[in-house]
């Protein structure tokens, strides 16, 4: 995984090493105990830590890590950037706490691993079925739309009717954007059987207090910032309803929302 992917997933700022963002790291090591890092850290890792001191940066270098991410918005004291620069270590800072930072990376990694799995298609095309799980991160505007793009490619690859693919893609995109704008994260399950395409988007987040109201065209809780990016015109859920053959929404405030979209094949 590139350091850039980690930066995007954690919405992190780069303290040092803009030029190192394309560097690939193989593991994440999360710890505040530097003796642990030195004992168990593997080379080519990136360190997640709440310890914003010289000790953390030096330990990461000794353990042959490629970078350090400071969690909980910790900022490094002046002067430490130089050591990192001289030793080609990227330093990032994220506002997320350690748990959330780790979960977000885990989410991205699962997504990536699953994408590598071959899509199973039966030779006659009638018995095909597949199941994929992808992940969407809240507030990750940098990658907004990537999961639905992936869903579209998968469905295209197995040769579904382009009109159906477009409807699934648009609905998934709207669901994905809702997660990016309003939730912490979500798992997206794509299931295809000979009769049905199902997309389930289960998020952890604030939930929808009044689903009926949210279904009305034009109703939105998006911020000005989101609207500046062209989102939040209150068309998302109505648009899904228009494109899906069946839409089931279950939501619990402060827990999350489950969106199930069904599309009939033929």
């Amino acid at each position: 995984m590139q350091i850039r992917t980690i930066k995007d997933a954690l919405d992190a700022s780069v303290i040092e090493g803009e030029a190192l963002l394309d560097v690939v790291v193989e593991h994440v090591y999360a710890s505040d105990l530097m003796s642990d890092v030195l004992a168990f850290g593997k080379p080519n890792s990136i360190l997640f830590t709440g310890l914003a001191t010289q000790q953390a940066v030096v330990s990461a270098h000794m353990a042959e890590f490629k970078g350090v991410v400071f969690v909980r918005g910790k900022k490094l004291k002046d002067g430490l950037g130089r050591f990192a620069r001289d030793n080609h270590l990227a330093l990032l800072s994220t506002r997320y706490d350690m748990y959330e930072a780790c979960v977000r990376i885990d989410c991205v990694m699962r997504g990536k691993v699953l994408l590598l799995e071959p899509v199973s298609v039966a030779p006659n095309g009638t018995e095909m079925s597949l199941s994929h799980e992808l992940c969407v991160l809240g507030n990750d505007f940098a990658n907004a739309g990537m999961v639905s793009t992936e869903v579209k490619s998968i469905l295209k690859k197995i040769g579904l009717n382009p009109k159906l693919v477009r409807r699934v893609a648009i609905s998934t995109y709207e669901g994905e954007m809702n997660v990016v704008m309003h939730a912490r994260r979500a798992r997206v399950h794509l299931t295809v059987t000979p009769q049905l395409v199902e997309v389930a988007i289960n998020d952890e987040g604030q939930g929808i207090p009044d689903v009926e109201l949210a279904m009305q065209e034009g109703f939105t809780t998006a911020t000005e910032e989101m609207r500046a990016m062209g989102f939040g015109s209150g068309m998302g859920l109505p648009n899904i309803k228009k494109n899906a053959d069946e839409l089931i929404i279950k939501s619990e405030v402060n827990k999350g929302t489950q969106l199930l979209m069904k599309f009939h094949i033929q």
């Binding site: 739309g145 954007m177 015109s233």
Partner: protein, 110 residues
């Protein structure tokens, strides 16, 4: 009319690597969700929205090209992503209204 013919006839500047396609119609909007709801496959999408998110949106609704009007500068990351998916991002110095006049005169989407 194809994307390439349009570029020549209207004087659009291609910014990304793209696949030449038939332009079936025109859709104008700066709200991504509105495009998702209203644009048709093969439409030319006119907008001043330059955020990277226009690329997945264009790909998903399957527009033939995105035209950024009013000479608005397009961020490099938006162009890079568009090139990755072979989606044409074309730039026009004309404001949307005037560009639409030209397209209409050419019979695009009429």
């Amino acid at each position: 009319m194809t994307t390439q013919e349009l570029i020549e006839k209207v004087g659009l500047k291609p910014l990304s690597k793209f696949e030449n396609r038939v332009v079936e119609g025109v859709y104008i909007s700066d709200m991504v969700s509105d495009v998702m709801a209203g644009a048709k496959s093969g439409d030319l999408w006119l907008t001043i929205q330059t955020h990277k998110s226009i690329v997945p949106a264009a790909n998903l609704v399957d527009v033939s090209a995105i035209v950024i009007t009013g000479g608005k500068e397009v961020p490099a990351e938006t162009v890079e992503l568009a090139s990755k998916y072979d989606i044409a991002i074309l730039s026009s110095e004309l404001p949307t209204f005037k560009l639409v006049g030209k397209l209409y005169a050419l019979g695009v989407g009429a």
